[in-house]
Symmetry: C2
Subunit: 321 residues, 2 copies
């Protein structure tokens, strides 16, 4: 986070960062949501959260902070770009450049689970017309605003004819309002396989929460850029930006972590708050640093690499702004 | 199916095939399950079904025959081997050779879906201790019987702590009874990504129904051998064998379909009924045919190919028995 903020300020981002506490320390301080009470007020005021990697204490029983924030703040769309940075980062799919828009509040993530008997357990998958419409419309608006051509929905509506069927139906309805964009639908099993094997054939994908969870990990892996991607969680009044990768508590404070995921999340944030030109400057400088062979230790690349620490990597980006 | 049966009989399989009707014609004849009434009696008597590719009429409202058969016959474990046949079939992962054992009756496939209002839809995910235990135990027994070393469970129990948590807990309990086998667990999003990128690191995977559906399509795609894999649906008293790929109605009757998927399913069937040596003979002859460059039109390979029709391909296998 420190490295990322340093780059943002050096690039001339007009931001006034306020720190709030979420995760490990808050849980251990006895707040079961993992979100410090005063954080909510700050979040509602600023409307924007850049979230660093957070840790949940071992041992279970703790609710995911991610899921809590998504639900409490009404962050209905999770936007996850996945692209190749060939030849600077190794991948079988140099042409891939796609965005997954994942529904972010409903589905099996609604958190409605029961133990009926010691032998029988249930989880409720919830899908609403509003939830579908919000995220599908967001996907089409995003596609149009970013010069993308095609939106692909993925569901399993050959089995779940009501719930996934609703998502598919709403998709078709909304798609009809965007005749300038192509729209198609795939069954998610075949879609996931195709995404793994031929990611370059996708543009924007919109899907339900759980499928989006799985698909975005596949996309990020085949791009070769796990650890490099940023994501946006969009709500009506608040938006949250974070790296796609999870936390690596064993790397904390060692000047080893790769700031790229959070930096790319910050670039999405700057675009969101109308500072797209600063975002562009940062991403160009970051790409130049990769091009010049700078990488933190986690990245494998085909050409000469200079493995450097977190702060040296940030310096390399700043020098290229 | 005709090509496959021809090979089976030529190889000396001791079988007495009875034909039963399922799918398109049965649906159109007004049987809503898609399974002809007299089929049930035959199935219960023989205990073994080799199922050809079937078609469901267009237009929705039809229940999947696959799901109906799995549930009505209590086929609790769906076994899907996925391996590379390099260099005869192109793949990035020549060393991959894994088996997915998928729970086959529960989860969101239980078919419990409701429309609460026109705006709110629900689907119930059902997980029982018995269901978990049956399939997990089957996976460990399978691994032991087939000289495999490791069983990996995949769940999303960081979100679904009760349902997926139960599967994970039962997995750990059963694993403790098989100290000769390695056992590990992955969250399914990361597991799916790893499967797509490094399938050679897996051996046996056991998982819930829907995850298994998605994971097996990924595995089959990265093996390069979609269209070549066979699968087994195992129940206490009946077993059903089928190709992993779906039907291709536009190829029917044109001598173009690839019989390999059904042939490999038939090999699993022969092993299941104690004719493993015939199965082995068939698979060797089939591999020799691939090695000699025989392929139906759907397969892309790196070396000289002879694209032949279904029956000529079967002849090539039979010549090599
Ligand atoms: C950590 C977990 C709760 C989360 C999810 O399942 O959504 C993660 O996998 C993600 O994709 O952001
Ligand atoms: C056709 C469909 C019902 C089936 C499933 O979802 O199980 C298929 O995708 C499969 O994997 O066998």
């Amino acid at each position: 986070m420190a490295a990322t903020l340093r780059i943002l300020l050096a690039a001339g981002a007009r931001i006034d960062p306020h720190e709030v506490a979420v995760g490990q320390q808050v849980y251990l301080g006895g707040v079961s949501s993992g979100v410090a009470p005063d954080a909510w007020e700050t979040l509602r005021r600023t409307g924007v959260l850049l979230k660093g990697p957070i840790t949940t204490p071992q041992g279970g029983g703790y609710k995911s902070v991610n899921v809590t924030l998504r639900k409490a703040l009404g962050l209905y769309a999770n936007v996850r770009p996945a692209r190749a940075y060939a030849p600077f980062v190794a991948t079988h799919h140099p042409a891939m450049d796609l965005v997954i828009v994942r529904e972010n509040e409903e589905d099996l993530y609604a958190g409605i689970e029961h133990r009926q008997t010691d032998e029988v357990y249930q989880c409720l998958k919830l899908v609403t017309r509003d939830g579908c419409e919000r995220v599908v419309r967001y996907a089409f608006e995003y596609a149009r605003a970013h010069g993308r051509r095609k939106v692909t929905a993925m569901t399993k509506d050959n089995i779940m004819k009501l719930t996934d069927g609703l998502f598919h139906r709403v998709f078709d309805e909304v798609a009809a309002e965007y005749p300038d964009l192509q729209a198609d639908h795939m069954i998610v099993d075949i879609g996931a396989a195709r995404l793994g094997a031929r990611p370059e054939t996708f543009d924007v994908i919109v899907t339900l929460n759980l499928y989006g969870d799985i698909l975005s990990d596949i996309a990020s892996e085949v791009s070769g850029s796990v650890g490099l991607g940023g994501s946006a969680n969009i709500g009506a009044s608040v938006a949250m930006f974070e790296a796609v990768h999870g936390s690596a508590p064993d790397l904390a404070g060692q000047d080893k972590a790769n700031p790229s995921g959070l930096l790319n999340a910050a670039a999405l944030m700057l675009t969101h708050i109308g500072q797209g030109e600063v975002a562009q400057r940062i991403q160009n400088a970051w790409l130049c640093a990769l091009e010049d062979g700078f990488h933190t230790g986690d990245v494998a690349g085909p050409h000469t690499l200079q493995h450097v620490g977190t702060q040296a990597f940030a310096d390399a980006v700043i020098e290229r702004l």
